[in-house]
C-alpha cells in the first residue's frame, strides 16, 4: 500500500536549482516512489497535482512544499529526516576562508557596501527582483537582472532610477551578458575582439556569439537589455546606456544592436542616438521579414571584412525514404522543442514561411497559442524557457526534465514527422546536456535535427557535444536557421 505525504513549510526557502538537486536526491532514497521539494508556486502546485501529490491547503509561493509518495507509511519519518538533512547540506556554502565568522550579507545593498567595485547579478523570484536590483542602482552600480516575470511598471521605475544615476540595468529576463570577457548568466566563452553587442535576447546573443566565434571574430562585451527595453513604456533606457558604454570602450569597433522590432517612436530616438556615437552601430532585427540571426552574423562578418565560413554540420538525419522501417508511419507534423526563446521564435518564423501557421506557447499570432498541454494536431513549437514554464522552476538549460518528457511524448506520437531541438552551451548551462539527450534521441524513430549553440571555449566541449549527439542519430547544426531549414527539407521528404 503506497503512502503519500505532503508537508508545507512556511518561510523556508531555497532557490529552484538547489531544490531540483534535493528533489533528485530524495527520489533516489530507498522506499521513495516519487518526490518533489519545491516552492509552492502555482506552476509547481500544478506539477505536484499532476504527480498525484496535490497540496490541499492554502499556500503562498513563499512556502516550501515537501511531497513524497512512499512504498509504505513506515518510511515517512525516516524520509523527512533525510529531506531535512539534504536541505541543510544543499544550503551550506563553502567557507571562503576570509572572515568566515562574519555572517553573509542578507541584501544586495549590504553586499555592495562590502564590495565597493562589484556589480550585481539578481536571480531571485521575479516579483522580488526589483528590490535587489534597486539596491544596486541606488548604490550607483550596474546590475544584471536574470530573473523573469518582473512586472513592467517595476522595470520602468527601475530603469528610470538607473538613468538618473548612470547605472546600467541589464534585463529583466536577461539570460546572457559578457562584460569585458566575464560571462554572466548563460554566457559562452569568447575571445576578446572588436564586436560589442547590445541585445534584447539572451539566446539570440548566444547564437551570435557562437557564429562569430566559429568565424574567428571575438567580442569585447555583450550587454543584454531585456526583451521589453525598446517598448514604448520603457523607451530604450537600457539600450541607450549600453550603447554609450560600448561607444566608450576603445576595443569596440562595431556595435551590433540585436533587437526585437522596437516601438516606432523609440526606434527613431535610438537611431538618432546611435548616429550620434563615434562607433558605428549596425542593427540586427529579430522578427517577421527580418534576416535570421545567421544572416545578420554574416552581414557583421562582411562589414568587418572577414570571409563568411561554412556553418558546420555534424551527422546526418536520414530522410524517411532511407529508413524503410518508418514507411508505415503517417506522421506529418514538425515538432520544435526549444530551451531558447529567440531560437524557437527564429525557427517558427522560418518554418511558418514554408508551412503556414504553426502553434506555440510563444505564438507568432495569438490565435496560434497552444493549450496548457503544449500539444496539438499541428506543427508545434514549444519554448520551455518561457516565463510561464519557469515560475519556481529552474530554466530548461539547467533542468532538462520537462523537455525530455515532451521529447518522449513527441516521439511516441505517430503524427510526428520530424523533431527539431536546440542545445545551448556555455557558463550556467548543464555540464553535459548531450549525455541526457543522446539516449532520448536514440529512442526516437523520426529524424532529429539539433541546433547546437556554443563556442569552442565553452566548458561543455562543443565538439564532444556535437559528436555525442550525432552518434545518437541527430544531425547537428551550429546555425539555428540552418537546422530549421534542414528540418523543413526532411519534412518535405516525408510529405
Amino acid at each position: 500500500m503506497t503512502h503519500t505525504h505532503v508537508d508545507v513549510r512556511p518561510g523556508a526557502y531555497a532557490d529552484s536549482v538547489t531544490l531540483l538537486q534535493v528533489s533528485r536526491q530524495v527520489q533516489q532514497l530507498p522506499g521513495v516512489l516519487a518526490a518533489q521539494v519545491a516552492m509552492a508556486t502555482p506552476l509547481n502546485l500544478d506539477v505536484l497535482a499532476g504527480m498525484g501529490l496535490p497540496v490541499d491547503r492554502e499556500v503562498s509561493p513563499n512556502d516550501l512544499v515537501v511531497a513524497v509518495r512512499l512504498e509504505s507509511a513506515d518510511a515517512v519519518e525516516e524520509t523527512l529526516a533525510q529531506v531535512d538533512q539534504l536541505l541543510v547540506q544543499a544550503s551550506r556554502r563553502p567557507d571562503t576562508g576570509t572572515g568566515g565568522d562574519i555572517a553573509p550579507p542578507r541584501t544586495t545593498a549590504a553586499a555592495l557596501r562590502r564590495a565597493p567595485d562589484a556589480i550585481a547579478l539578481v536571480s531571485v523570484p521575479g516579483d522580488l527582483a526589483v528590490l535587489e536590483a534597486m539596491d544596486a542602482v541606488e548604490a550607483g552600480r550596474d546590475v544584471m537582472v536574470f530573473s523573469d516575470n518582473m512586472p513592467l511598471e517595476q522595470e520602468v521605475a527601475l530603469k528610470r532610477a538607473a538613468a538618473e544615476r548612470g547605472s546600467l540595468v541589464m534585463g529583466p529576463d536577461c539570460g546572457t551578458a559578457v562584460i569585458g570577457g566575464l560571462g554572466l548568466g548563460f554566457a559562452n566563452v569568447v575571445e576578446p575582439g572588436p564586436v560589442g553587442i547590445v541585445a534584447a535576447s539572451g539566446t539570440g546573443t548566444q547564437q551570435l556569439l557562437a557564429l562569430l566565434d566559429h568565424a574567428g571574430v571575438g567580442v569585447a562585451s555583450a550587454l543584454g537589455v531585456g526583451g521589453r527595453d525598446l517598448s514604448a513604456a520603457v523607451g530604450g533606457l537600457s539600450t541607450r546606456e549600453a550603447l554609450r558604454r560600448l561607444d566608450d570602450d576603445p576595443a569596440v569597433e562595431l556595435v551590433v544592436l540585436l533587437s526585437k522590432p522596437p516601438a516606432p517612436e523609440v526606434a527613431a530616438a535610438i537611431t538618432a542616438y546611435a548616429d550620434s556615437l563615434d562607433t558605428p552601430v549596425t542593427t540586427a532585427l529579430l522578427g517577421p521579414g527580418a534576416p535570421d540571426i545567421t544572416a545578420s552574423a554574416e552581414a557583421v562578418l562582411t562589414r568587418l571584412g572577414v570571409s563568411v565560413p561554412e556553418w558546420p554540420v555534424h551527422g546526418i538525419a536520414h530522410p524517411a525514404r532511407h529508413r524503410p522501417e518508418l514507411d508505415d508511419q503517417t506522421g506529418r507534423w514538425l515538432r520544435g522543442l526549444f530551451v531558447g526563446g529567440t531560437l524557437c521564435d527564429e525557427a517558427m518564423l522560418i518554418a511558418s514561411a514554408a508551412l503556414g501557421p504553426v502553434r506555440s506557447n510563444i505564438p507568432l499570432t495569438p490565435d496560434q497559442a497552444l493549450p496548457a498541454s503544449l500539444t496539438a494536431a499541428a506543427h508545434t513549437f514549444v519554448d520551455f524557457g518561457d516565463d510561464a514554464l519557469t515560475v519556481g522552476r529552474a530554466h530548461p538549460m539547467i533542468d532538462p526534465t520537462l523537455r525530455l518528457d515532451h521529447l518522449a511524448r513527441a516521439a511516441h506520437d505517430p503524427e510526428t514527422a520530424v523533431i527539431l531541438l536546440d542545445v545551448v552551451l556555455g557558463h550556467g548551462a548543464e555540464p553535459d546536456p548531450a549525455a541526457a539527450l543522446a539516449p532520448a534521441i536514440q529512442a526516437v524513430r523520426q529524424p532529429v535535427v539539433v541546433s547546437l549553440v556554443g563556442t569552442a571555449g565553452d566548458p561543455q566541449d562543443l565538439h564532444r557535444q556535437a559528436r555525442t549527439l550525432a552518434a545518437a542519430g541527430a544531425e547537428v547544426h551550429l546555425s539555428n536557421a540552418g537546422a530549421t531549414r534542414r528540418a523543413l527539407e526532411l519534412l518535405g521528404d516525408r510529405l
Partner: protein, 470 residues
C-alpha cells in the same frame, strides 16, 4: 570594462559560474521577505521619492548636535499641569496599562501631592480625573515607565542650528525606583530630594556654564563613551563620569551648599545610568530632525508602554504602528524569574533607533553577560543591525570593528525584506506594580509593526502616484 566582484542573489549556480571564471562572487544570503509584504515592498522600492527622502532623513538625523542647555521643572518646560502625566511609549489608557506603568503613575500622583497614599491614585486614573499622554507627543522621552509629572525636573537639550529642543527627566538610579514601577516611601523621598536639591543644583551649574560660554556637548560625550565601552543604553558609566567632569567646576561655583553638593556628586557618580537620561533626548533630538519627510522609510521612534510596542516612521507622520510588547530574555536579579517580568517598557529604545544601545553592542563587551550573551554575539549583533540600516554614523564609531560607524537609520523596507528585527538592550521591570527592577536582557519589537508601517508607506506612495501629473 572589467569586473572585480559580482554580488549574486538567487540561483547559486550563477554565482558558481562566475567563480569558474576566476572572478569572486559575493553571495547574498537571500530569503523571502516577511509574509504578505511582497507587493508593498515593490511599491515602496519603486517610489521615486524614497531614495532621496531617505538620504535627506539620514543626513538630517546625523547632522544634529545636542547640547545640554538647561534643567527645569516639567511644569515650566512643557506647560504640564497638576493631574497631567506623561508616560513612555505609544498612547495608552489606565485600563490597558501594565503594572510598572501603573506603579510609576501612582508614585507620581503621590509625589505631586494629589493623593496622600499611592494606593489611593488608581480610582482617579480610572475616572479620568488624571490624564495620560505619551512623552513623545511633547518632545520628551522617559526610560522604563517614563512617567513625568509637573514637579519633576528635566534636562533640556537643544540643537543650536535649528533651535529645536527635547526633554527628559533626571535618572533616579537602579533598584526600587519610580520608572520601574516602585512607589514606596524610599521612592518618594528620593524624588523629593531630586526636586529640591538635585534639579536646582544642576540648573545652576548648567546655566552658569552656559553663561560663561561653556557647554555640555552631549553628542560629543556619546562619541567618546562609545569608544570607552558604553553602548549608552544599559551601560552609561563613562558618559556619566564625563558629564560630572564637565559640570564639576560649575557645580563647585554654583553657590549650592557643600553638604548638598557632596550629595549631588555622590548621587550622580554612584548612578551608572545617570547619563542615559541625556543620551535618550540626544537621540530623540537627532531623530526628530528626520521626521515628516514624504517617502522616507526611516524609523524615527521605537517606544514601549509596557503593553504595546510602537514605532513611528519619517514618511508616515505621527502615526504609531503598534503590536504587543515582548518579554525580554536575559538575566534576573536575585530570585526573580521570567514569570515576574513585565513586557518591554520605556522610551529608551530611542537609543537603538539612533544606532546605539543594542545596535552598538559590539562596543560594550563588559555588559554582554548582563544581557545574557557572549562577546562574539555582541559583534554579530552590531553587524546584523547594519543589514537593516540606511547608513553608518560618521562620528559614533566602534573601535573593535575597525572604527566602523554605528548602524544608523532603521529602514522599514530592509526589516521587512530580511526579517531581521532591531536588537534592543533593556532593563526588565517587575510586572506587579511596586516591584521595581527584576533583571536586564535583550528584546525585539513585535515583527508585525514593520509590515504595518510598510503597508501605510505603500498606500501613501500609491496615493501620490495617483494624483501626480503623468
Amino acid at each position: 570594462m572589467t569586473i572585480s566582484t559580482v554580488v549574486t542573489s538567487g540561483i547559486d549556480l550563477l554565482a558558481a559560474a562566475v567563480e569558474d571564471q576566476a572572478v569572486p562572487a559575493s553571495r547574498v544570503d537571500w530569503r523571502p521577505p516577511m509574509p504578505g509584504t511582497t507587493a508593498d515592498l515593490a511599491v515602496v522600492a519603486t517610489d521615486p521619492l524614497r531614495a532621496d527622502a531617505n538620504r535627506r532623513a539620514l543626513a538630517a538625523f546625523l547632522g544634529v548636535n545636542a547640547q545640554l542647555v538647561d534643567v527645569a521643572p516639567a511644569a515650566d518646560l512643557l506647560g504640564l499641569e497638576r493631574g497631567q502625566f506623561l508616560h513612555a511609549g505609544p498612547p495608552i489608557t489606565w485600563e490597558r496599562a501594565s503594572g510598572p506603568l501603573r506603579g510609576g503613575l501612582m508614585a507620581a500622583a503621590a509625589f505631586e501631592g494629589l493623593v496622600d497614599d499611592p494606593e489611593e491614585a488608581p480610582p482617579l486614573f480610572e475616572s479620568g480625573s488624571f490624564t495620560l499622554d505619551p512623552c513623545h507627543h511633547h518632545g520628551a522621552v522617559g526610560p522604563m515607565a517614563g512617567v513625568v509629572s509637573p514637579s519633576m525636573w528635566m534636562f533640556v537639550l537643544e540643537d543650536a542650528a535649528s533651535g529645536r529642543r527635547t526633554f527628559c527627566s533626571l535618572n533616579e538610579g537602579l533598584g526600587k525606583v519610580l520608572r520601574y514601577g516602585a512607589y514606596d516611601d524610599s521612592v518618594l523621598t528620593r524624588l523629593r530630594w531630586m526636586r529640591d536639591v538635585l534639579g536646582p543644583a544642576l540648573q545652576r551649574a548648567v546655566r552658569g556654564l552656559r553663561d560663561s560660554g561653556g557647554q555640555v556637548d552631549v553628542t560629543g560625550i556619546l562619541t567618546q563613551m562609545l569608544q570607552m565601552g558604553d553602548e549608552a543604553h544599559n551601560r552609561n558609566r563613562a558618559g556619566t563620569l564625563m558629564l560630572l567632569r564637565d559640570l564639576s567646576p560649575a557645580l563647585a561655583t554654583s553657590g549650592v551648599g557643600s553638604a548638598d553638593l557632596a550629595e549631588v556628586f555622590r548621587f550622580v557618580g554612584g548612578n551608572d545610568h545617570f547619563f542615559l537620561n541625556l543620551a535618550m533626548p540626544a537621540c530623540k533630538l537627532a531623530l526628530d530632525a528626520a521626521r515628516n519627510i514624504p517617502g522616507s522609510t526611516m524609523v524615527v521612534a521605537m517606544a514601549r508602554n509596557g503593553t504595546d510596542f510602537g514605532i513611528q516612521v519619517s514618511g508616515t507622520g505621527d502615526e504609531w504602528f503598534t503590536g504587543p510588547a515582548q518579554v525580554p530574555e536575559g538575566l534576573y536579579l536575585g530570585d526573580y524569574g521570567p514569570d515576574d517580568a513585565n513586557p518591554d517598557i520605556g522610551d529608551s529604545a530611542i537609543t537603538e533607533t539612533a544606532g546605539i544601545g543594542g545596535f552598538a553592542m559590539a562596543t560594550a563587551p563588559a555588559i554582554v553577560r548582563l544581557v545574557g550573551g557572549s562577546v562574539p554575539d555582541a559583534l554579530a549583533a552590531t553587524r546584523r543591525m547594519h543589514e537593516i540600516c540606511l547608513g553608518e554614523s560618521p562620528r559614533w564609531s566602534i573601535p573593535v570593528l575597525e572604527f566602523q560607524g554605528v548602524p544608523s537609520g532603521i529602514d522599514v523596507t530592509r526589516v521587512c525584506r530580511t526579517g531581521i528585527l532591531p536588537q534592543i538592550n533593556t532593563g526588565m521591570a517587575g510586572k506587579v506594580a511596586g516591584t521595581g527592577q527584576v533583571g536586564a536582557g535583550l528584546v525585539n519589537p513585535p515583527a508585525e509593526v514593520f509590515p504595518a508601517a510598510l503597508a501605510r508607506l505603500a498606500r501613501l506612495t500609491r496615493e501620490r502616484a495617483a494624483t501626480a501629473p503623468a
